[in-house]
Symmetry: C2
Subunit: 413 residues, 2 copies
């Protein structure tokens, strides 16, 4: 059950001029479910992406990097769920290219103008023939208002499709930013989440778009962790179709750049939080806020050490204020020369805030019943103050339940 996360309301997910989406049932892993998504981009669109840092980056990731590096105008994306096309060697690259080829023929562009993506089981050959056979059906459904359908076609263990949409005025002209994402396990993105696509009709210079995708990833998908396992297929792609009647957004004009980036980041953060809310087996959505750090990297190390600790996550699942585990996890972040006597820690749920640790030890006013009360709700914030500096960060995660084990012990069966 996702934590306070409803399926997206298709009426509120705005089309992005220049983007059309289609879907199909290719039967890649299971019959009778959507597992193929096709996206067509208008000529003139610009695309930038960030990808997994896993050494076993999947074949489609390698192809995406190559096609983006080549600098040809990207005209489409082809995405399959059910099979990750990873650990598949040269055959995997050939399979990804074949998907591009068939999609390119339908769209009317060259192979290197397509970007391929896969998500699902690793170490099994991609069933290319099934994808080839289903691509015409996906092509036939292409339409501008199919974002939520597209979101449902890239799901694996996700229980809810994930989409978000905003508008912002640039030069007084309304610009749309809409995105979709999937991914609920094998998830501690270190470039981007498993698969996320955000598009805008803004006009954005190519190098500016590349900078924006990195900066947005760092404040959104790179701040989520479900289980600390970075996927082999993580990809986050930012598309600017250039259909809006505005001047090009360039880095040299920081005000306009920041205005657009802020909205892209809002969409990306909503998608990223949706991923944690739908984390495998999640019963709680946890925000971990660390401040008082010397630099952001240090704050992030502390937040991730808390967010990835199985002992902390099982205590959150049980609503058990076994709060020594938080202290253990902070201590494990290996912050050099951490003065634990400067450390404070608070738990809050809504307006209810309880100080648990004060100057490195149990807060004098802390009572077990306060801990029990504040850990009950489904949304909890853990705030840590290191007392060393001014840097801060926020990470989103979920708890660790019986269902996480169940889902992952039985994933393939």
């Amino acid at each position: 059950m996702p934590v306070n996360l409803a399926p997206p309301d298709a009426a509120r997910i705005k089309p992005v001029p220049g983007v059309e989406l289609g879907f199909a049932e290719a039967g890649i892993r299971k019959a009778g479910r959507r597992d193929l998504m096709l996206m067509r981009l208008a000529p003139g669109s610009r695309v930038a992406g960030v990808f997994t840092q896993n050494s076993f980056a999947a074949a489609p990731v390698a192809v995406c990097r190559g096609h983006l590096m080549a600098g040809e105008a990207i005209r489409g994306l082809v995405v399959n769920a059910g099979n990750a096309n990873c650990g598949t060697g040269d055959d995997g690259v050939a399979a990804a290219l074949r998907c591009c080829e068939v999609a390119a023929q339908l769209i009317g562009c060259s192979i290197s103008q397509m970007l391929p993506f896969s998500t699902g089981v690793i170490l099994e050959p991609l069933p290319v023939a099934k994808i080839e056979a289903a691509l015409p059906a996906a092509f036939a459904t292409l339409a501008a208002d199919r974002w939520t359908d597209a979101a449902s076609a890239i799901m694996t263990t996700d229980t809810v499709a994930k989409a978000a949409s905003r508008t912002v005025a640039i030069d007084g002209v309304p610009v749309t930013v809409t995105g979709i994402a999937k991914g609920v396990g094998m998830l501690e993105p270190n470039m981007a989440t498993m698969l996320a696509y955000v598009a805008t009709d803004a006009v954005v210079a190519q190098d500016t778009l590349q900078r924006m995708v990195r900066e947005v990833a760092d404040v959104s998908f790179n701040r989520v962790t479900v289980d600390g396992d970075t996927s082999t297929n993580d990809s986050f792609v930012l598309i600017a179709t250039g259909q809006a009647a505005i001047a090009e957004v360039i880095e040299a004009e920081p005000r306009r750049y920041e205005a657009l980036k802020a909205v892209v980041a809002e969409v990306a953060q909503q998608l990223a939080q949706s991923i944690a809310r739908d984390g495998e087996g999640a019963t709680k959505f946890i925000t971990i806020a660390v401040d008082g750090a010397l630099d952001e990297a240090e704050a992030l190390r502390v937040a991730r050490s808390i967010g990835n600790s199985p002992l902390v996550k099982t205590a959150l699942f049980a609503s058990d204020p076994n709060l020594g585990r938080l202290l253990m996890a902070i201590g494990n972040a290996r912050v050099p020369a951490l003065d634990t006597s400067l450390l404070d820690l608070y738990l809050s749920a809504g307006d209810d805030t309880v100080q648990v640790i004060e100057s490195g030890r149990r807060a004098a006013a802390y009572r077990e019943e306060d801990g029990v009360r504040v850990m009950k709700p489904s949304e909890i914030t853990i705030r840590v103050t290191l007392g060393r500096g001014a840097a801060r960060t926020v990470v989103w995660t979920c708890d660790f339940s019986y269902d996480y084990v169940k889902i992952n012990a039985e994933y393939r069966t």
Copy 2:
């Protein structure tokens, strides 16, 4: 249920001349269970230790470091289970010193000749009065043949007491090495396991003993992981009572040093493996062997990435050959410039070996039924060959079951 781990046979755990052990029920956390252990060492004993690297090292760890640094002859150890005396500030240090004081009065030595240890719940005050009250009872039971009783008195979520014993001839004289350990969760030691004590009657120079404890920790307790969470109280202490009629073992005589170290390492490895066999919720004992690495640190990073991956561990629990997860975990070790096309991976159980990955992709001869078969048994070895160099390592771990969640969601209740 521990994996192929029977309670120690007291008759096979040999006394170490110069060491006496006692125990008591102090009622620290629960009534009616052993939770206090006292060890008395003969005059002339030498003691060396390695301790947790967690920034929140517990109060007793700080006191141990101080007393060992001071260089006074250690005459005794006082160990309680049920409360970790961690996150307790100056009061915690005072409490640990008070335990030393009471034990020192009984043994007849100074406070700084005692080493205190605690294990259990973090962030709660140590109930010193209960320990004070029970220490005379522990003192009254002091005897040389109480190693297994002592092992049972330091358990927390352990289901089986852990003890091991060996003898070795040094200069033709039989020397005994006997040890006990505890710890089954919050466990990825990075100096030593939660609590482990190994004693020998060999005569060992102090600096040699300190070197030996580090070297042995690196090939035993530092090679175990249950959940990747390093405890705040990890301590591994090596005691040499000097009662054997041999010349002093010194580093300058490598042959004698290595002969003794090998046996100390055997005892420590057996204890370390016992910890993984009794890992919280464990149903399988997993050996992860990585070779072909450029250096040992790199091999260890790969082995730990596998051993700590919740996705790998849940697949092992399910006996599901979802082997892409192994590839994902290897890729997450962030080995610089890893050429995945040189990587091979084998699973084995007993004499049955199955090659799963060959040159970075699924082995041509691999069949799902082979994977299913080799993953069924309760003891499995995962062997990874990186194809980069000659360095290797071995790590021991366990799987990740419903019971891990159950044990840790309900630990305090």
